[in-house]
Symmetry: C2
């Protein structure tokens, strides 16, 4: 494990205490009795763990929320005081860096973007430092400490070691980003794959709260997938997991940058859509925005490209459903701008290709701008603060 | 929850005690200190949990295994006394019922097969009763109690409720098999999907011991998959999981019984292989054994059928690797009789279609006869005995 600067130590220093705090954080306000029920811990253990957390100001007892049972003494619900601590989250894309300032409940308190002229580690670190500096100006006004920075990067990221093993978009190999960023900004830094970071935000603060098995599918430049199984984000024994974009849909299909043919991403990724729209129309569309515009104008052949993309995504989701049987699939990403163009095909293909009751999984769409990905990065920093010894905490 | 007859209550009645016993069962003999390390529990908690288990005869302290540290008192390893309790396991196929008698360590003490003339629930239950009766004769000689029966059936099985929701091979719908079998044989009964039962045996007693993420892929009449993620067998929120046989390999491929085209099973299942060998050779082969014989004789066109089957299986395994990144994939099933005919294609396709480091997963083959599936059923009965309140226990 790499050394990280420590700003303040969180007072929940046992797995049970972390679990109790996490439960209140994502599902509260809750009475101690309800926390005990949901964590399968004893009420005495909950009371014991809650005490130092209240003393340190991380939990508050809310008299306004008081529940008065017919018998016995009133059971005061406890909730997290979001304003007790601040966190930073950064998402690195190929063109810009998006940063947010959040509170302990992962509510966004500020956001900034800075363009990225050069994708090499040094200029990226400099841009992160600039952006963090801008966001920290705000925190001075709030008078609350910043307890960590999360950085989300696409590709193969080893969160435990803090290393970006390989990021195709940035063309990075084995960059010890957590250590470099920690030295630059003077905060503890958590580095994670961007789709996994988004999944953490959904699991703790979004549409995955209370679910033990769900998937987040992101549609955009790439097609990604974050998986939560048995209450924990799947990281893969060798760093690779959730690669729904490289599920083969058609072995005779178009070539993919991964070296295979007919991957979901080779049919439904933004570059693939732009290419197919050019081929179908002869119009030199530059990007996905233009392709969507052509589709909405009814230019012949464009809707068919999106229909095929929807089928490919639906088949990828069906594969996830057939293998893992998730309770819910959350579809998100910047590609959702085109969602009306392929929503029907995604649902129809999923229904047709899902095996038996796997088709029962609930499909939701959540339009998430890049700031939400940065918020995902902040969520990983919150996780690291609460459960410093567990690189992949559960709910 | 359905009521089940109770033969004897296991003295580990907390989750921690179950976890301690399970660790010794699958990884022992171990010293108490080593158990504490592996379970992340305190040495005091381990000592406390071990005591009643030794008193009841489930654990024994082995002086022969004594480890003498240079300093301090000797640390006696504890191990499970396999002979302390017996279990029965039954695998139901379309043609016969295979049963085994095992000890608490899931070592086979006896095996029997009875043919099945009729697949309706009543005659199947009668056949199970006959087979159990034959196996119980043996137990009388051993003078040890039988503590449970496990029944493994292919299809959608709800283990918690003890119901076979849908089994295509048997043409069963919503059969409360656990309750019916418990009334018939007078033992607590655990019912599970056959591939999941085999996965439990691998997890607790086989090639999956000590791994938190692995897959068992079974090749034969059907192509199945049992998945262990974060130390627990994946059951799926709606009962379906591990359906690798219905991953689409080629949307233009042959029709599958599930209603889609080009599923792994529609290309590599035994019926599909027999059909393709007939088409390629014009020879009226009756079953997979004849098809393998033709391939080994070098009849033109037959090896190509197996090569395509191997590619389909390899692509299915690559999909599992890309989504979950398991440490190990264990390939098994009666179809392994043909393994030399498609092993190369499985490995080559997996290597080509796995994304990045996902290809690093260790692939093992384990030829498992039907008796091993029955042993898997016995393993689920052992699980239920040790952790009666958890329908899907972890290691």
């Amino acid at each position: 494990m790499r050394p990280t600067p420590r700003v303040e130590t969180f007072p929940a220093n046992t797995p049970a205490a972390s679990q109790i705090f996490t439960t209140v954080l994502s599902q509260g306000p809750l009475t101690r009795l309800e926390v005990a029920r949901r964590t399968a811990l004893s009420p005495a253990a909950v009371t014991k763990a809650v005490k130092p957390l209240i003393e340190a100001g991380y939990l508050v007892e809310d008299a306004a929320d008081e529940v008065r049972p017919a018998l016995g003494r009133p059971a005061n619900p406890v909730r997290v005081d979001g304003g007790r601590a601040l966190f930073l989250g950064v998402k690195v894309t190929g063109d810009e860096i998006i940063g947010v300032l959040t509170d302990l409940c992962c509510r966004t308190r500020g956001a900034r973007r800075v363009p990225l002229a050069d994708r090499a580690p040094k200029p990226v670190l400099a841009a992160i430092a600039d952006l963090v500096g801008e966001l920290l100006v705000q925190t001075a006004e709030l008078g609350v400490g910043v307890h960590g920075l999360g950085v989300a990067v696409s590709g193969d990221v080893d969160r435990a070691e803090g290393v970006v093993r390989y990021s195709p978009f940035l063309n990075w190999h084995d960059v010890p980003l957590a250590e470099l960023a920690a030295m630059t900004v003077g905060l503890p830094v958590t580095v994670d794959n961007d789709v996994r970071a988004l999944t953490v935000a959904e699991q703790w603060f979004g549409a995955g709260v209370g679910l033990s098995d769900f998937a987040v599918v992101t549609v955009g430049a790439g097609i990604g997938c974050g998986l939560v199984v048995h209450g924990r984000v799947v990281a893969g024994a060798h760093g690779v997991a959730g690669e729904i974009g490289h599920v083969t849909v058609d072995p005779a299909g178009p070539p993919c940058h991964c070296g295979n043919r007919g991957c979901v991403e080779a049919i439904a990724g933004e570059a693939a859509i732009v290419r197919q729209v050019r081929e179908a129309t002869g119009i030199e569309v530059r990007d996905a925005t233009e392709a969507v515009t052509l589709a909405h104008r009814g230019v012949p052949g464009v809707r068919e490209v999106y229909a095929r993309a929807g089928e490919a995504i639906g088949r990828g989701i069906a594969t996830v459903a057939n293998l893992l049987g998730p309770e819910r699939v959350i579809i998100s990403g910047e590609g959702l701008a085109a969602y009306d163009l392929f929503a029907e095909q995604i649902r129809d293909t999923l229904t047709a290709a899902a095996f038996g009751s796997a088709a029962q999984c609930d499909v939701q769409t959540r339009p998430l701008p890049f700031e939400e990905w940065a918020r995902g990065a902040a969520a990983t920093a919150i996780q690291s603060f609460i459960t410093p010894d567990d690189p992949h905490p559960s709910r």
